[in-house]
Amino acid sequence: MSSWFPRVYPRSDVAIAVGVAIVVQGAFIALLARGEPKEVLVDLSDDNAKPVSVAITPVPDDLPMLKLGGKKQPGKLPDMWLKPKASQKKGGDSTPSTKADTEKAPETHGDAGVASDAQSLDPVAGDASTDPVAQNEGSAAGSKTGTETDPLKAHAVDQYRAQLDAWFSARFNIRGKVPWDKLKDLRATVVIDITADRKVGGYDVVKGSGDDTFDDQLYRDLAKVQVSGAVLPPPPESYPDILGTKLRLSFRCSVRAACE
């Protein structure tokens, strides 16, 4: 070792330096290891769906030029909206939810129409000590100390998670390609690389569904999303770090009306 170190560095100094470096590296590794993502599953099914009003991204599925991979029909704009039709359950294997809001039926369109429970106010793990809400309130006069606590962050995270669900769902064209009886049990897990400009830089299907049609469609649609350069929704400006550089997604279709 002394043969390739200048003589100005005594062995003791080198040993101390290596020791300090190891300690600092260990601290870095410990910090990085703390952020293990926690799986949060939102149980969405026909049985517990709550058909409150639904914000719908109008994805006109009757116009192939607008669907991912469809054929173009120049000279025709998409219809903005299709009124929801009363969906008839096939097979009679499920009953209407007793939790349904009878005052306002969910608006549905195309692939949409799932009564998502993603707006749950249940808190998720968050760091209340770093809650940045109060730091990003702009410059309006007269601000008094806010009282936001962790449930607020959970609320924002829930909303953002629902946006990501809608964003990827609008680009996942599994509908009609796998029989419902099989589809309802399929699930694939994907880790997406998010670029600095909020695009899909790459993806890794870490756990396939086991169904070739489902997995092939997933690969195909993810490739299209990556090639298209579509930009993900921005994370809440009060919580800009929640998106991160990797996003773990679980693709499944558990609500019959949305996926069959």
Partner: protein, 417 residues
Amino acid sequence: MRVISILSFSCAAVFAVDASAQPKPPPDTELGTVEVTGSAGVALPKLAVIPLGGDDAESSAILKKDLDRLGVWDVVDDAAMPAGPFSKDDPVDTKAFKAKGISVVVRAKKDATDVAGDAWLIGKGDDPIVKHSVQLGKDPRRAAHALGDKLVSALTGYFGPFDSHLAFTLRTAKGRQVFSSDIDGLDKVAYGNADDTALSPTFGPKGEVWFTVSKSYDPFKLVHGTAATELSLGKPGSVLSVSFSPDRTKLAVAVMKDEASRIYRGNADGTELAPVETPALPNRPVLGPLGKMAYVASGSGGQRVYVDGHTVSPAGFHASAPTFCDSPNGLIVVFTVGVGSGADLVATDTSGGNLRRLTQGHGSNAYPACSPDGRLVAFFSTGAGGKAPGMYVLPVSNPTRIRKLSGEYGDSLAWAR
């Protein structure tokens, strides 16, 4: 010297390890695993604004209107709320609101100096989870909008867009003039001379209104402020349109000379302008997030919208007036397309994919302007079905929830804080 040597070696070792380290583990602990369910919809939780009378009535009404415009919540009517009466200081019976299926309750109240707002997340205790206040200042109405922005920030993580201004052009007796107003169409300010022809208003550094103007059929000049002070760009020709980057540090202009136009990009002060390669007849450059630029230019089948050199508007349609929305639907481009004798608003990804129609059956709709938070699109509409011409707004994620902002009907709309 010895200490410095040790520290230097230590740092070098750390950086060497860091550089060769594997990519960071996902720092997405809050998001966890996002379930992609096949649904393209987002449920709207119900929100109630407690109706108060007297001095609090105006603030409550403004707050309720703003929260309804946002399209994030289903703002319930008073009839759908628990039976009152309500007062500004009484505790809120959260159980009664929960029984009505309401998830969020908001109350605004005014005193001599402030307008204050409380918000409850139902199921998270009987005390308000958010408390904010804004000084009334000279304009209590604006203070109520600012309060709404703060409450929206606390409840959604995104600052609200309501304490903001819109700039637009209106026809005058002899020409077109630029005006600005607040989101209610009030506090209207005129720019330049009513006899001139003004185009392309936008917001520049320090929130000042910039536009282009022609006097007596002279070439259009780039000007700013109520006095229409000229900024010479040193480019011969007529400046047709102008745009600033979201951080207002960069500028893009379209300049026409000898029946040909060209887009230049440079600094906000007009320096270092460099031409941009585009198809023929480019106009209406718009600088957006992530360094992107949209514009219109000639294309197959007529004028089309381009983003960074690629067409995004559908072939065969005359497209115009692009604007970026960094929205819950991702970064999208909203623009006008001619449909029959009218026009409608559509949105696409910045690559042109995922085309969505935002208006239909609401008259002729044009000149979209995205709100500062990306959630809303304001536009001019002739109206239909009993709705009068004016300035309207819709949420990008739920475009059927169209609300009227004011009775102004013009063109070239811009929206900023």
